[in-house]
């Protein structure tokens, strides 16, 4: 099995990818009509064609070679490295807070992915990273991610001084504790990534008052205004899910972003169709 996982190789070889891509395209086209006849096997038939469309755009853009995918610049992504650099200059650790929703949730997976990228920047800048958690799964995944990032850069000393730990799983005691940690460490860069609830402003206002550069990324729409007012940079909406791919900047990852665009254009078309229908 080991041979299948060469460096820079996706899990599934590209040749195999082409077959489902073609199949999916046909399925998408035919599913909306076929679904009606097959309700005893299929559930959620109104959702299925849309899902197949997403799947198709995902696979198709994996196989088509686009010469150069240029991603629009996202200030928050560029600011991440600068923020770590600033911490290094000031000799302070970087603080990374993951959201309250624990790991089987996709927002937590995305947060840990970004944590990995930030950690590898930290490893090359020789800056420790501190991350308090409110959930054990997220903590364990973060530990693995950070160990991996520092080992890759052969920076073994900092694994120990980088601290990933659990505080408590209840919302406001966690917020109070993070404020206390912020006060103790006086970090010059704080990252907030994941799903946040009301505690967002408690965390960011205090971090702001301590003069830290704050970069946030979240999928909780209700909290975005507060991240905007109290943080320096924010990964809005789906930018949060693509950030780790943009930092990595490898071709396969960029292709998934192009696929995301394609899926969104289809959604926009559906929206236009639905809007037009409302006048009939």
């Amino acid at each position: 099995m080991k041979r299948a996982f060469r460096k820079n190789d996706t899990f599934i070889p590209e040749k195999i990818l082409k077959a489902p891509a073609a199949l999916l395209l046909i399925l998408t086209a035919s599913s909306s009509s076929a679904a009606e006849g097959a309700e005893h096997v299929l559930a959620h038939t109104e959702t299925l064609p849309y899902f197949l469309m997403l799947l198709a755009s995902f696979f198709i853009l994996q196989t088509i070679r686009i010469k150069k995918i240029k991603i629009r610049e996202i200030p928050a992504v560029r600011a991440m490295e600068e923020a770590v650099g600033r911490s290094t200059e000031m000799g302070k650790p970087v603080l990374f807070i993951t959201g309250l929703k624990p790991i089987p949730a996709v927002s937590a997976i995305a947060a840990v992915n970004i944590l990995g990228e930030v950690a590898s920047v930290c490893a090359s800048y020789n800056t420790p990273i501190v991350s308090p958690h409110s959930n054990s799964f997220t903590m364990l995944a973060a530990q693995e991610e950070i160990r991996e990032a520092f080992q890759k850069k052969n920076n073994f000393e900092l694994i120990n001084s980088s601290r990933i730990f659990f505080v408590t799983d209840s919302q406001f005691p966690f917020a109070a504790s993070v404020n206390s940690i912020t006060n103790e460490l006086k970090p010059s860069a704080i990252f907030y990534m994941g799903t946040f609830y009301a505690e967002s402003l408690i965390l960011t206002e205090y971090g702001q008052s301590q003069g830290a550069v704050q970069i946030a990324g979240t999928d909780s729409v209700a909290q975005m205004p507060f991240f905007i007012t109290s943080c320096d940079y924010l990964l809005l909406g789906e930018e949060f899910f693509t950030a780790s791919a943009i930092i990595k900047n490898d071709e396969k990852e960029l292709r998934t972003i192009a696929a995301l665009d394609a899926a969104k254009i289809v959604t926009m078309v559906l929206l236009v169709y639905s809007f037009a229908r409302s006048f009939l």
């Binding site: 959620h44 109104e46 959702t47 849309y50 899902f51 997403l54 995918i69 240029k70 991603i71 629009r72 790991i103 089987p104 949730a105 996709v106 997976i109 799964f137 364990l140 995944a141 530990q143 693995e144 505080v167 408590t168 799983d169 209840s170 005691p173 109070a176 504790s177 404020n179 206390s180 006060n183 209700a222 975005m224 205004p225 507060f226 905007i228 007012t229 809005l236 909406g237 789906e238 930018e239 693509t242 960029l254 972003i257 192009a258 995301l260 665009d261 969104k264 254009i265 959604t267 926009m268 559906l270 929206l271 236009v272 639905s274 809007f275 229908r277 409302s278 006048f279 009939l280």
Partner: protein, 197 residues
């Protein structure tokens, strides 16, 4: 009564943090962390360990041994040599978690919402409102496109429209939230502080 006084004192300790970080706040914070972690632990023992692990074992449902073993692998992170075993339960969680969220998400956040945009409208006010709603949704979706946007006049205008609408929505959310947050303070003052006067 004594309990209420202790609560009041601890609340004052928490509010004192607004003024300056101080030992009293630190003490209260540590106390809270300990108590809430302990309480959370007890709850998961009752609702998780006993209800989802011990009870099924008692009734002869042996399938819970699988997550039990996966869970035990986490314990191996305590030893350097076996730490890699933690990746197996994580892989299980990542895979199933990623798969679970797809279907319901699409249904509630996309399919239902798109069809809500297609409900019938009549009368000039409704038509204008629906059009504004449509433009705000479309332009902000456009703003978030990553790869296909080119720097043209149309692009700047349409994405700019998206930003303006986003700002309106964010401003409104902020404004409305002020009320929620002040309510919390009112409640605390009303139910705890003013009781003693």
């Amino acid at each position: 009564m004594i309990l209420d006084l202790i609560t009041l004192a601890l609340i004052i300790c928490i509010f004192s943090f607004l003024f300056k970080d101080n030992p009293f706040f630190k003490f209260t914070e540590r106390l809270l962390v300990g108590v809430s972690a302990g309480y959370g632990f007890l709850i998961i023992i009752r609702d998780g360990f006993l209800a989802k692990f011990v009870d099924p074992l008692r009734t002869g449902d042996l399938s819970v041994i699988i997550p039990g073993l996966l869970g035990l692998m986490f314990v191996f992170t305590l030893f350097r040599r076996t730490a890699f075993l933690a990746k197996y339960p994580l892989a299980f969680l990542l895979g199933t978690g990623a798969g679970m969220e797809i279907g319901p998400r699409i249904e509630t956040s996309i399919i239902k919402q798109i069809s809500a945009m297609g409900s019938h409208v009549s009368g000039p006010v409704e038509i204008i409102n629906r059009t504004v709603l449509f433009i705000s949704a479309l332009s902000s979706l456009y703003y978030f496109l990553f790869a296909v946007r080119k720097n043209t006049k149309f692009d700047r205008f349409f994405a700019g429209t998206g930003i303006v609408f986003m700002m309106i929505a964010f401003g409104a959310t902020f404004g409305y939230t002020v009320m929620s947050r002040i309510s919390l303070l009112i409640d605390i003052i009303d139910s705890v502080v003013l009781r003693f006067f």
